[in-house]
Structure formats: structure tokens, C-alpha cells
């Protein structure tokens, strides 16, 4: 059976954390629920799972590609047009530094932007379940459960102190 989303809205952070505890106790996998907020709450404020990301790999890979391209471009140019400047060797690092630095930076930046898009799961053409009251400071607890567990999840959220529970159809469920 396909999972369906249900969103509980909480006025207080403590109540949202309680809802998280209740879902965990009810056997809902931690990957199946998330806390939606209008500002970044401190790590562990809701007793939520640790969310790791691999964003740091992206600029590293990008920088490596840019560095390689820069070194190749400058060294191959110097070898193709061997001009002696100021008595310095044909292949010297200082004249390569400017172009190599710039190419490294440019590719690192491009890969960072790609990384942010990928790690934030942006963009998406499918609209998710959301409630604009979250922008007023309410905390959303978004749960993805099988359709036959929706009512039970709704009860859990309400008992934890949800002021409203919203389902995919758009209307309030509580």
C-alpha cells in the first residue's frame, strides 16, 4: 500500500517533540516523519534523527577538476609556445598560478551550487503537504504512513497537542 502524508501543526516546540516521541514509540520509522519549521531550530531540539549530508564532497570534486584543467591548460600552452620570459624556465609555477587558481575556484563554485540543489532535493515539480501557518511560527510534523494508519497517526498527533491536522486533500482533519 502506498504511503500518504499527514501534517500535524503544533504551537509549541515541546509538543512537537512529544509528537516525535509518540511516533517513535508507535513504531513509525524515523525516516518517515519530519519537522517543518520557518527557522532553523538547534540540533536535536525535537529529539529528531541526525541528518547528515555530503555537500562537502561536491566542491572538493569541482576544485579537483578545475585544478587539473588549469594546470593542463597553462602547462600545455607553455610547452606549445616556448617563450623565455625574464630568463625563467619554460615550465614555471608562478605564471600558472593565476589561471589555475581561477579555474579551480570557478568549478568549485559550480559544483557547490549543484550540490546545494541536490542535497536540498530541489527543485521538485510535485507539490508537497504544507500549511502556511508554519510561517507564523507553528511547527509542522509531517508523517508519511500507509493509508490505513492515517487515523491512528492523526490521533497520536492530536494527543501530543496538535492544534490542527492536515491531510493531502487540503482540508483539516481535526
Amino acid at each position: 500500500m502506498a504511503n500518504r502524508p499527514i501534517l500535524g501543526l503544533f504551537e509549541k516546540a515541546d509538543d512537537a517533540a512529544d509528537a516525535g516521541d509518540a511516533l517513535k514509540s508507535a513504531g513509525v520509522d524515523q525516516k518517515d516523519y519530519d519537522f517543518l519549521t520557518d527557522a532553523p531550530y538547534p540540533e536535536g531540539a525535537f529529539g529528531e534523527r541526525h541528518e547528515s549530508h555530503r555537500l562537502y564532497i561536491f566542491p572538493f570534486v569541482g576544485a579537483l577538476i578545475g585544478l587539473t584543467v588549469g594546470v593542463m591548460l597553462t602547462s600545455m600552452t607553455q610547452m606549445a609556445y616556448p617563450l623565455v620570459q625574464g630568463g625563467k624556465p619554460i615550465l614555471a609555477l608562478p605564471p600558472m598560478a593565476v589561471v589555475t587558481y581561477e579555474s579551480t575556484m570557478l568549478t568549485a563554485i559550480i559544483f557547490t551550487i549543484i550540490g546545494i540543489i541536490f542535497e536540498s532535493r530541489l527543485p521538485s515539480f510535485k507539490k508537497g503537504l504544507y500549511d502556511t501557518r508554519i510561517t507564523e511560527g507553528y511547527i509542522g510534523v509531517l508523517v508519511n504512513v500507509e493509508e490505513d494508519q492515517l487515523n491512528q497517526t492523526q490521533t497520536l498527533l492530536t494527543q501530543a497537542g496538535a492544534i490542527d491536522v492536515v491531510r493531502q486533500s487540503g482540508g483539516s482533519a481535526a
Binding site: 519530519d34 519537522f35 517543518l36 519549521t37 520557518d38 527557522a39 532553523p40 531550530y41 538547534p42 540540533e43 529528531e48 541528518e51 549530508h53 555537500l55 562537502y56 566542491p59 591548460l73 597553462t74 600552452t77 607553455q78 609556445y81 617563450l83 620570459q85 608562478p94 605564471p95 593565476v98 589561471v99 587558481y101 581561477e102 575556484m105 570557478l106 568549485a108 563554485i109 557547490t112 551550487i113 550540490g115 546545494i116 542535497e119 536540498s120 532535493r121 530541489l122 527543485p123 521538485s124 515539480f125 508537497g128 504544507y130 502556511t132 508554519i134 510561517t135 507564523e136 511560527g137 509542522g140 509531517l142
Partner: protein, 476 residues
Amino acid sequence: MAASEIHGHGQHAGMWVFPDATVISQDISAKTRSMPKPFTIALAVTGILFILGVVGFVARAADSGFDEIAPWGYYMAMFSMVFMVTSAAPLAAVAFRFTKSHWRRPLSRVSELFSIIGILNVAMFIPLMLVLPSLDNPAGVVEGQLELRRTIWIEGPIGAPLAWDFLGVLFLALTSMAILWVSAMPDMAESRDTATGFRGWVYRRLSSNWYGTKRQWNAQKAGLALLGAFYFMIMIFVHFEISSDYAQSLIPGWKDSIFPVIYSVTSIQMALGAILITMFIMRRWGGYEGYYGKAPFWSASKVLLGVTLLWIYHLFAFFITFWYGRMEVEQNIIKYLITDTYAIVFLVNLVFTFVAPFVILIWNPVRRSAWGPSLAGLLALIGGLAFNIRIFVGSANAAPGAKLYDSFMEHVPAPVYPDVWDVFMVIGGISAAIFIYLAASKLLPLLSLWEVKEGTMYQKWGKLFRGEYLILAKPE
């Protein structure tokens, strides 16, 4: 409940503000949508002056063409002025975010919004690519002249200098706009369902799938840190390129490792000044008093004072090396840029960039006000304009024609005064930047909503010992 509570006692009265997180979005959204009469007038005036600048540019192009760099000296000065302010401004958001300070929260978006003007920088840079003289001496090997003029592109690698300069300016703009996008995404997501027209269209496209999950907040935080680090690294580099290719390398024999640093320090000082002026205007007349307390002015004023002192230190280091060096070219450069040809412009530069801001900022009560640091910022901008005229008009006219390939500048040239088209271009270019900023402030809020809301969680006005003070939480 009021949108904000203002606290602080004694000499710290009004220092800290505590906005109500539940009404910030609504209140700021209304402020962003509104078009008060003074704002509309400012938009119209800067728009008209922008058109005047375009007229000046077209007239200059028709008059002088793009073969010689000399007639474009004032255009270069104007480009550099706008570029220096707008390239360094986003750095304030980046740098103060790194320090995890709370006072910077209201300042972040004001500084990030300068990124939009990066589009103008890229557009204005294109004519400068056309007028930059070739690295190779067109006359080939000539006795007494260089075959390849002295630049940072020692052996003239592929694409140097134009392609690399352009890529630098372009990526600087793109990176700053990426920072703005990542930072403003949560704020745009808040209003994407309610905003209408062009604003709604932009919000829906640029914030799709942002719901404020833990994963998204973590990726945003790491993304801003990484992009910020890269922005700083590329900004300093592009400053190095522009100050070398469009200033130093155009004065034969000018070899100075301190000048790119002076350029970056002046740029940071001007940018901080522009941010403080913007915040002062919005606080005084824009209805943001409840969001911009005096704390950001007070804290930023200390940074401004530090940068002001750094500026005079680097200027002195440059001067003393050339003055004691006493080589003919060093004496000629000092005469040209400091003591003779552009002496009055240098004096204006010195007074407005160092003397006046220093005299204002050393006073504690002035630093603790909103007007004091903003006034110092305004003076720094005037000084910065004089700096750009002195350096770029001077560089463009130092060695006309084949003299550019001489080993050093043998004679001190006469000053070049602006004609009517130059005046149009300088005023028009600066107005264009202001026009774009004003228009952008109606698209994106002038307050980083998520950042200010986050701040409300960690800052309280509470009792400690027998008094009431600002109490801070530091989760990291």
C-alpha cells in the same frame, strides 16, 4: 502584541530590539509590497538618471569609439566605484555569519541584496573589455619598448586577460546571487502561496520544494558556509585582476604589491558604509526601527573603524616604499597620483576615506548611535569615489598610444577633467546601481526573516543580578 519591543537602558537605550516572531513575516511582507511616495520618487529619479547615464555612454562611444582607453577613464572610475561597493557588500553577510554573531541578523539581507547589482557590473564590464589595450606591443619589437607589457599575465596564457577577467566578474556576480538565492529561499517559500504577480512567479520558481525540513536547513547552512568561503576567495582575486589590469598595468613601470590590498580594503570600507546608510534610511524612514536596533550600527562601526585604520596603514606603506625608493618612475608615480597632478583629488580621498571617518568613529557615544556610523559610511563612499577617479582616470591617461609599452613613465602627465558625457556616465552609473537595489527591495524583503526568527529563539530580555539585560543562548 507590538511587532517589536525595544530595550536597553542608560547609554544602551534602544540598543536591542526583540521582534515578535509570529508577526514578522506578515509585517515585512506588507512593507515589501508597499510603495510609499518617497520610495516611488527615489525610484523615478534614479531611473531618469540611469537613462542619462545611457545617453552619456552612447555619446562617448559615438565621440571616441572603443579604440583608445583614455576617453573611458571616468567610465572606468564609475564602474570600479559600483563594482567595489557591490562586490564587497555581500561579504558582510558572509563574514558576520561565520562569526555566529547575533547583531548581524538584521544586516544580512541588506548586504546580500547588493548581489543583484552584479548583473549591472557584468553588463558595464563588457565595454571595458573592448578598450583594454593589447598585451602585445602592436609595433612588434621596438628599441626602448617592451614586446609584451607588464601585467599579472606573465606569459599571456590563452584568453588572457579579457576572458579570465570577464569570467572572474561573471562568477563573482553568480556566486553572490547564489548566496542570495540560498539565503532567501526560506523567505520566498513562506510567501509563494500568497504572493501574486511577478513576485509570486519568482517565489514559486526559486523556492519550489522548500518546506523547511531538517535536511534542507542543514544543506542551506553548509551551502551558505561553502559559498561564502568561495565568495571571499574569488572576490579578493577579482579585485586583484581589476586593480592590476585596469590600473597598475596601464602606468608603465608601476610595480606595487600593496595596491591590490588597498583596493580591497577600500572596497570593504565602502561596502560597509553603503550597508549602514541603507539600514539607517530604512530604520529612519522605512518603518524598520523595530527590526534594526542600534546594536548592528554599534558593532559594525568597530569593523568600519578597523578597516579605516587598515586603509591608512596600507596607503602609508605604499607611499613610504616609493618615497624612499626614489627611482625616477617611483617619484613620477607619487607626483602623478598623490602630490601634483591629482593632488586635490588625493586630498579629498584622504580626508573622506580616513580623516573624517576616523574622527567620527573614535567617539564612543557616536559609535553607539545609528547616525554616527552611517555618516562615517557616507563619507567613506565620497572618499571612495575620489579614490576611483584618481586611480582609474589617472591610469587610463598615463601613457597614451605607444607610450604604454615604454619601460616606465618618464614624464608626469597633466590631469584630465571630466566633460559632460563623463559626468552623465558617472552619475548615471551610480544611479543605475541604486535603481536596481530599490527595485530588488520590492522583490525580496530587506530582512532575512528566517535569520531574525532564529535570533528571537536565542535572545531574550531578562533579569540578571539586579538589572535587566540582553541574555543570549549559544547552541553552537
